[in-house]
Symmetry: C2
Subunit: 203 residues, 2 copies
């Protein structure tokens, strides 16, 4: 029996199944960046990944299923939050990581493509929202830690502070088109920290 | 000579040209909401608008040209900024207007569709960025007025404050999928006002 047929829990990291998944998801990302969601085709992804078409169809079924798995992988691969002991520094590290990602030659267009794809397909939208839920939850730890140190008012909604850090950066990428750089990152982090200390995010 | 051939400056408001443009842009918006940018077709738009196909091809040439004109029209149609004499109230009015727009049954999907379209097409992206530049400039007047009243530190970047109000709202619509409501709007406005007073947006 092909290991690809195994349940997710039975996949051995580094085994054949994991290597196939890695190749296919990389190819899917490349295809998304080059052609967008509407140009995505399972046979083309299989060819790019040098994996049998049947394997790709059997494991992912649809392009929406493939993009959903790509987003799951992106959430799993993403870096753990920082833990500097200072809210300002942690939020700055978060904002700078987001800017590095969104200005990366591959990751930036990939994020724009999955956001566009989410607009066309409900299942992709759900996967995108899960991706952000995972990332927001990871970094919310910085805010909870700061609240624990007494840096923030009790009842501060940690996830809302993290959303506030990312929002101005995504707004520039997806809506206004204004440039993204470290100054913009640091300003987003500073604004979120000031508003959090003032109690704006107490729920 | 068909009035449709006239230069933009020669269009009489309320005349035949204006009525044709209004019908075609409304049909283009409907088609975008229903089918997305990739499903947009000039002949289909002409049929929906009950306007001759030749007129549509002659005036707009391409779907990208049509979406660019739709965005120009959206910028022209949008409401003028508020002027309450209070920065907090003006920013709250701005945030609530954005939430009303993005949660509107037609406007919300339309914005998501044009953002997705901008990812596929450079000309559409330029038109989208111009749309936001116009809206940001309009509302920046509230911030400049507040600075004039001494409510904000000198050198505050008014446009950056307005971007900060909109950003958390677009982030929810386009990325995280978290709900949009008046509470979220008021929090976005309060955060921008607090950060602006603290000098975060001094450039």
């Amino acid at each position: 029996m092909d290991a690809v047929d195994g349940e997710p829990g039975t996949v051995r990291p580094g085994g054949r199944t994991a290597r196939v998944r890695e190749s296919v998801l990389r190819a899917a990302g490349d295809a998304l960046v080059e052609q967008g969601f509407d140009g995505l085709d399972l046979a083309d992804v299989a060819r790019r990944a040098e994996v049998g078409k049947t394997t790709v169809y059997r494991r992912w079924s649809t392009t929406a299923g493939l993009v959903a798995d790509l987003l799951t992988d992106m959430a799993e691969q993403s870096e753990p939050r920082s833990d500097t002991g200072s809210l300002d520094e942690d939020l700055r590290a978060n904002a700078r990581l987001v800017v590095r990602t969104l200005t990366d030659a591959r990751q930036g267009p990939l994020f724009a493509a999955v956001v566009a794809a989410a607009n066309c397909d409900r299942r992709t939208a759900e996967a995108l929202h899960r991706f952000y839920a995972v990332r927001i939850e990871e970094w919310a730890g910085c805010v909870d830690a700061a609240a624990g140190r007494g840096e923030l008012p009790p009842g501060t909604d940690a996830r809302e502070v993290i959303r506030a850090v990312s929002a101005p950066l995504y707004y520039r990428l997806l809506a206004s088109g204004d440039p993204l750089d470290e100054t913009v990152a640091d300003r987003a982090a500073a604004a979120a920290a000031v508003a959090a200390r003032a109690g704006v995010y107490v729920s």
